[in-house]
């Protein structure tokens, strides 16, 4: 049967659609945007409330970005990976939203930053003091990081830079940071007791609110 040009266009559009669906299927039905990846992941966690993306960090050198989102009364954080056009969201951590809500990264062996969601009006800068405390090789390990950050909308991002890069104690520090990362899930070493203190300030440097939490295995 000879097709006219309109019929050929329809045939081609149908063929392209089928072929693109096949491509998508072969690749495992990946998400194509960060928002889509997060929304799908939230549904895999069985959460049906609508997902509102509040913050996305820039892509880092490992093609990952942190995403903060809201579902119902909860704030969530996840990690989205980029591979060409494919976006994949990792594990999700949910916390009840408060005026200052600390959100610990997911999907990383070592934390690269601590995120703070701030709903205190007028907060333009913040300080974060992280005390890593625990036992390592039968000795007490104690290290403190003082980090400052400027507001990115409602979010403060406190980068964690290991202090001992290049020193023989590198591995100790990285091991304890790894323990700190696990502590956010309540799965740190039994002897660990990590403290995170944040203070948000207004444009004049006055402290508007402070918050502290201790990460310790129950």
């Amino acid at each position: 049967m000879k097709l006219n040009r309109k019929q050929k266009i329809i045939r081609n559009i149908l063929a392209v659609t089928a072929l693109l669906l096949l491509t998508w299927a072969v690749q495992g039905f990946p998400a194509l945007t960060t928002k889509q990846a997060v929304e799908w992941r939230v549904r895999e966690y069985g959460i049906e409330e609508e997902t509102e993306i509040l913050y996305t960090s820039d892509w880092d050198e490992t093609n990952r970005r942190d995403v903060i989102f809201r579902v119902g009364e909860m704030l969530g954080v996840t990690n989205v990976r980029k591979n060409a056009w494919i976006r994949t969201a990792g594990d999700i951590r949910l916390r009840e939203a408060q005026s200052l809500t600390i959100l610990y990264q997911t999907g990383r062996v070592d934390p690269t930053a601590i995120l703070l969601w701030c709903s205190v009006d007028g907060a333009v800068e913040a300080e974060c003091v992280v005390n890593i405390h625990g036992m390592l090789n039968h000795e007490v390990y104690d290290e403190t990081y003082e980090i400052r950050a400027a507001a990115e909308g409602r979010v403060f991002r406190f980068p964690i830079v290991p202090k001992g890069t290049g020193s023989p104690n590198d591995h100790d520090e990285l091991a304890m940071l790894w323990d700190f990362q696990n502590a956010a899930d309540g799965q740190s070493d039994r002897d660990s007791r990590h403290t995170v203190t944040v203070a948000v300030k207004d444009v004049s440097g006055n402290v508007l609110e402070t918050y502290q939490e201790i990460l310790k295995r129950e």
């Binding site: 072929l19 799908w40 549904r43 069985g46 959460i47 999700i92």
Partner: protein
Amino acid sequence: MDHFELWCAKVLGHVRFVPDRAAIKKELTAHYEDSVSDFLRIGYDKDLAASRALTALGDAEEVGRGLDRAHSFWLGWLWRVTRWSVFLAMAAVTVSLWQFGMPEIAEWIDPPPIVEVREEYAQIPSPADFSAGAYHFHFDETLYDWNEEGEGGQVLVNLSAFTPCIWLDGPELFDLLEARDDRGRIYRSDRFPYTEGYTKDYPLRSRCAVSIFLDEYVPQWLEVRHKTAGWSFRVEIGGGI
């Protein structure tokens, strides 16, 4: 340039979809040559036959406008673009197949269970199937593995999770399940006695496995709850078998 060539150029000048011009010219030429042959056959001399055949082709302006309508500019380009798109999509399929391999369609339809059932496992009644969120959960089998040394055992639940949203992986269970027994004791995901949940993802039917590891106490029942989804189901053990 002879008269026909001039006529042809005038006609083709009206056709805005340029890629079709060559084919149109070929068709007009064939038509013209047929007509000339007809006139020659009935006794016209060569020049007169050519002149009559050209007249019979009609006014170049009118024919040109008609052909432009018939060979629509937008439709022509749309057709070409869709044709290129087919080739690009075929290339995308080929690259994807090369990169990811052929999908295991048979496994999509009937994926293997995560935990193989061993002979020593005893079947116990499965809870009723249920739907939650994007998934429908079907209990494939519920098993109890009694530890003969009297130190509890393991309850194993094999489930299938179906979803019409083929782009979703299976339900996330890892570290998200918690069980409670008839004495109110909690079985968490990070310490003994504990509850584990695993999912093996397939587009149509994901396989899930829930294992609850008991200590010396064998409860009458266990209620397994998903911490973020909120769904739960109860497994009746009956205090051991």
